[in-house]
């Protein structure tokens, strides 16, 4: 049994996920209850009674990895962030083993491989304390009550909406229509590519095509839009001209020999 497991005693039958911190205090911590890898790391450093400015990196890394293995053995899914931290610890540990550059003078700033980690831990711990302060404040606030509803309160429940409410509501509306959208898909809407192919074929066969007649063949508004886009596309790319004999009259699609030159580029 490793050192870590000796310090953590657990009861697999009752509180499988509970471990009790060593040192005889009452500190009970649920496995996986750490808010993140930094918190776990701080816990291990504390437990080791190590100095945060001089972390015994090999020992702490070993404990950290042991903890991760423990979580896995208990089938607790280990968040990726915990694994990222494991990799960081191993990297720092290996850097610590490298001999210092003998040409570097003592004066030259020697970058301790642990420095970045220590900075992050210290920064994190400030916010962890701030979270504790917020917790206390909210507890105090819960002892204060505001008035019950009165006549003048608006009784049709209105929402003090934020932009995220707008998004959430919009998503709900969209979701409400999923069935209808599915129905529409089942109606086998014709794709733009298919529409283009059909249009090209018709023009090639006959040399020209009445736009009005073509549009009248469409069954739905969506098909009509697709047909319209197909016409624009074919005029742009395929050397097809739109001819109109009189204002408000029918428009004829007519094949011309050369495709129009592409402008710009």
């Amino acid at each position: 049994m490793s050192e870590l497991q000796e310090q953590f005693s657990f009861d697999f039958h009752t509180e499988r996920a509970q471990i009790v911190g060593g040192g005889g205090d009452d500190l009970k911590i649920k496995i996986g209850d750490f808010a993140g890898p930094l918190e776990l790391l701080l816990f291990l450093i504390r437990q080791d009674q190590a100095n945060i400015f001089d972390i015994p990196i090999a020992r702490i890394t070993e404990k950290y990895l042991e903890y991760i293995r423990l979580m896995k053995r208990l089938d607790i899914s280990v968040a990726a962030d915990f694994l990222v931290m494991a990799a960081t610890l191993i990297e720092v540990k290996s850097k610590m083993l490298l001999p210092r550059d003998p040409t570097a003078s003592d004066e030259e700033e020697f970058e301790d491989p642990r420095q970045e980690l220590v900075d992050r831990l210290l920064e994190y711990e400030k916010f962890k304390s701030a979270a504790g302060m917020l917790y206390e404040r909210s507890t105090v606030e819960q002892a204060i009550f505001t008035r019950g509803p009165i006549e003048s309160d608006d009784n049709n429940a209105e929402i003090d909406a934020s932009v995220f409410d707008i998004l959430t509501v919009f998503q709900k509306i969209v979701a409400r229509h999923v069935d209808e959208i599915k129905l529409e898909i089942h109606r086998e809407e014709i794709s733009l590519a298919d529409m283009l192919r059909a249009l090209k074929k018709r023009i090639l066969e006959t040399g020209e095509l009445s736009l009005l007649a073509f549009f009248e063949e469409m069954h739905t508004r969506r098909e009509l839009v697709t047909a319209f886009i197909a016409v624009l596309e074919i005029v742009r790319t395929e050397g097809v001209k739109l001819l109109q004999s009189k204002t408000f009259g029918d428009i004829i699609l007519k094949k011309v020999s050369e495709p129009p030159a592409v402008a710009g580029g």
Binding site: A161, V163, I166, L167, V169, K172, I173
Partner: protein, 186 residues
């Protein structure tokens, strides 16, 4: 929380009772009866009646803006009748970024689909939105954005500058996208 057994031994002073009655009348959803106050505080009704009468006198004597009034067999805290005019004026000016669900839904459709016509909103929401659109226009959250070149030339709507201000957006690109949301619910 420690059970204040010791404190409970000593009976409450009249002024403590007045304060407690005041707090309960204040938080109650509807007029609260003497009996209910007495039950909650485990006191007899006479003490509570005396406390509420004292409270009533206090509010009157200091010419408070509020009054303790007896209504529907219970006690209630309310503004004094003489101040109704100013109270009503305040209620009218109450800033209302607040929206009913129907208005919020309509606003959401307009925000994400603008410019959009009434029939298009109907199609997306599946319900008539005329009164919601009226509300949104009244609150200046949306504006007309010209007519659509379609049958009947329906009016199109979009969000207004006030919309951006009220929702703290620099421009429409700051509206959260579905992607922003996916990041949060992954």
């Amino acid at each position: 929380m420690d059970s204040n057994l010791d404190e409970k031994m000593a009976p409450r002073t009249p002024s403590e009772l007045v304060a407690l009655a005041e707090a309960l009348i204040f938080v109650a959803d509807e007029p609260i009866t003497t009996k209910l106050i007495a039950d909650v505080l485990e006191e007899d009704r006479e003490s509570i009646d005396a406390a509420v009468e004292e409270l009533k006198r206090e509010y009157e004597s200091r010419e408070s803006g509020l009054q303790i009034r007896e209504i529907a067999g219970g006690w209630q805290l309310a503004t004094r009748t003489e101040l109704h005019e100013q109270v009503r004026r305040f209620l009218k000016t109450r800033p209302s970024a607040k929206l009913s669900l129907a208005s919020l839904e309509t606003l959401a459709v307009i925000a994400y689909k603008q410019p959009v016509t009434v029939p298009e909103i109907l199609e997306i929401r599946g319900v008539q939105s005329a009164s919601a659109i009226k509300t949104l226009l009244d609150k200046r959250l949306i504006v007309a954005k010209g007519r659509k070149e379609a049958v009947g030339r329906p009016m199109q709507y979009g969000t207004s500058k006030d919309f951006l201000i009220q929702f703290g957006l620099k421009d429409l690109s700051e509206l959260p996208s579905i992607e922003d949301f996916e990041d949060l619910v992954q």
